[in-house]
Amino acid sequence: MDVLNAFVTLANFVIIPATAYGAQLALGALGVTLIYGILRFSNFAHGDTMAFGTMVTIFATWGLQAAGITFGILPTALLALPLGIAATALLVIGTDRTIYRFYRQQKAKPVIFVIASLGVMFIMNGIVRFFIGVDDQRFADGERFIISARTFRDMTGLDEGLAFRTTQGITIVVAMIAVILLFWFLNRTRTGKSMRAFSDNEDLALLSGINPERVVLITWIIVAALATTAGVLYGLDKSFKPFTYFQLLLPIFASAIVGGLGNPLGAILGGFLIAFSEVGVTYAFRKVVGYLGPEEWQPDGLLQLLSTDYKFAVSFGILLIVLLFKPTGIMKGKSV
């Protein structure tokens, strides 16, 4: 029986990675949920918006590195992030002006917006591949670890190491700052309140003199910031590849729906729920159980519920269960 080693193993392979991944998903899902709440459609181009923002940030990072500017022990990409956000904001406002606004004035059905977002998805995907190509890009620099496995072992004298990467730490901190800023904005400022009012009841909001185009504009800017931040954090933590970002659409949507579409708090909860299930279900628990049980209990199998290739199945399974039993999501979203 070795609870400490068991816990450290679990933290190293499940808790820390899942928390970082959950924070990334939560930021992505917040973007989806905001668009759903204000513009009232599911934006299929969200994954590619993230990819675009990350791409601009990567280019800016390379530019800074070439100019000899770095951020000390932190990744240079954090310095480049504002530029990525600005470029993405311009792009999404551009698509709104040229594409979505027309359908808004027509009062088109939500599914028409979704189909339009498919077109936007194609174009953004094309742009990203055109500029940066389809290959993997790694752009994390600075200090790699906050605590490396060896330092941890030396420090504590335990058998198991605990690695805490800088990118994971940054992900958690940056995501927390972003979420606090967002909620402060939504709950405390006049513009944020008008956004919530618009989301709750469009007619009443219009009646009380809220300018819908301004609300939409601000929403897109916030979405661009959230999407770029989520994309950059994911890219720092793992790597940047356009196709992976496209595939992130599924867990992000699952997070937003599980939490309740249109509900920001739900999106965060959903993100962590999906991340922990994905990592937990595909992790081989053999070592952890081995530490917890007596010697002769050591299991033969890996104690892995599903192979890692089935991580999509996990988000999907949770999504189905929630849709079947609680169609509006865990926290009440605006749906059905």
Partner: protein
């Protein structure tokens, strides 16, 4: 609703025909026929999506999954069985799968039979966990045994060794089965949820194809799947064919490849014709009118006593089955199943572009869209390259910008498809051939 033949439709099909004939003259007839055959398959996929979207307004973005299931059917039906694998663990694998299915069915029955409360949830959880453990115990052993039999060339159970043409309807059935499961759970919820659910199931189907080696060799691919038409090499050796060719005065190698492609085209046209005929019959029948009534106003259709949910399920299954048939045809055309090539942009969203551009709610429109968009998808790449060469002609040979632009020309097709979709949706939202 009289069915006069609209000259506009004829003209549009004529224009697309010119595109293909032009490809024949400018590039080669082999290229033109290759594009044409995939165009036929695409047209069938577009027909399937049009059934769901045009007839009933169901938003299915899991086309890729159904197409892949059709591809799986060709392996399961036509490939010769591997007796060693079957004797090593085949029955155990099947037993495992049966146990897994029984667990789920048992859990559903229990859920319906027990009274509401905490106990029900607890019992469900216990049944599912126990069932899953048992399933893995039985299944994993069988899978290991099967996959260890000569993994370099087989390592899977093989198929039934039946004629390949049988795989086409079977592909439809497999897709229909999957559609039934999804429809049962996700239909009746709002349209966005169906979209996400279908997107998810498609990814899962591809993940299963990639990882379950015992089924269809996973990423090791199954190659050399039977063909319903003769091989080019055999044609080149047959006396009768050579005699025929020398009569026309053609090169035997080119003639044999073209003959094979024409035979495929004939088979595909047969299927497409049958499907269009059936779809048109259905569209003009009372059933078709009922479907449109449901699509246009669910509440009033329900008030008239129509069972909206089961009609939706019906058309969802039918449309998915058509996609499954097309998937089986495509894998037959390629004679290989390569799970890695299934990409959502190509197999789901491109089909959607076809339907929207062609004209949702019109079978001929979907077919036209299938041909037109597929032709563009293939040809935009060389055209983009030409454009880039023209643009960069003034630059030096080793110029990095020139190199990059030339390398990136391939991605122009995504940009073009997005543009076309948005332009059609904006300026001609009913498509090239609108619903009658």
């Amino acid at each position: 609703m009289t069915r006069g033949f609209d000259p506009k439709i004829l003209m549009l099909f004529g224009l697309v025909a010119i595109l293909f004939v032009g490809t024949g003259f400018v590039q080669s007839w082999n290229t033109a026929l290759t594009i044409f055959n995939m165009g036929l398959v695409s047209a069938i996929m577009a027909l399937g999506v049009n059934m769901q979207w045009g007839y009933a307004g169901l938003f299915n973005v899991g086309v890729m999954g159904f197409v892949a299931l059709g591809g799986l059917a060709t392996v399961l039906v036509s490939v010769e069985p591997v007796p060693e694998a079957w004797s090593a663990g085949g029955l155990q694998v099947i037993l495992g799968l049966v146990l897994g299915a029984l667990t789920i069915v048992g859990a559903i029955l229990l859920w319906n039979a027990m009274p509401k409360g905490r106990l029900r949830g607890l019992v469900m959880l216990v049944v599912l966990l126990a069932g899953f453990t048992l399933f893995r115990r039985v299944f994993d052993v069988g899978v290991d045994a099967v996959e260890s039999i000569d993994p370099a060339s087989t390592g899977f159970l093989g198929g039934l060794g039946l004629p390949i043409l049988l795989a086409w309807p079977v592909g439809g059935l497999l897709a229909a089965g999957a559609a039934w499961i999804i429809g049962k759970t996700a239909l009746g919820l709002r349209s966005d949820y169906l979209a996400i659910a279908t997107l998810g199931i498609a990814e899962i189907i591809i993940a299963v194809l990639k990882n379950e080696d015992w089924l269809a060799r996973g990423v090791k691919n199954v190659t050399g799947i039977d063909r319903p038409v003769p091989y080019e090499v055999d044609l080149q050796e047959s006396e009768r064919f050579l005699g025929l060719v020398s009569n026309i005065g053609a090169d035997p190698v080119t003639a044999s490849t073209i003959t094979v492609k024409l035979l495929y085209a004939a088979l595909f046209i047969l299927v497409l014709g049958l499907l269009i005929w059936l779809s048109e019959k259905a569209w003009n029948s009372p059933w078709g009118r009922m479907m449109r009534a449901i699509r246009d106003n669910e509440v009033s259709a329900a008030a008239m006593g129509k069972d909206v949910k089961s009609r939706h399920l019906q058309i969802f299954i039918l449309g998915s089955a058509v996609c499954g048939v097309a998937g089986a045809m495509m894998t037959t055309l390629d004679s290989q199943l390569v799970p890695g090539t299934y990409q959502p942009l190509r197999f789901t969203f491109l089909i959607w572009v076809m339907v929207i551009v062609g004209g949702s709610g019109n079978n001929w429109g979907a077919v036209l869209g299938g041909f037109l968009i597929w032709w563009l998808w293939v040809q935009v790449e060389p055209l983009g390259l030409l454009l880039m060469q023209g643009l960069t002609a003034g630059m030096a040979d080793g110029n990095w910008l020139r190199e990059h632009l030339l390398d990136s020309a391939a991605h122009m097709r995504l940009l073009t498809m997005g543009m076309i979709l948005l332009l059609v949706l904006r300026f001609s939202p009913r498509g090239l051939i609108p619903e009658r």
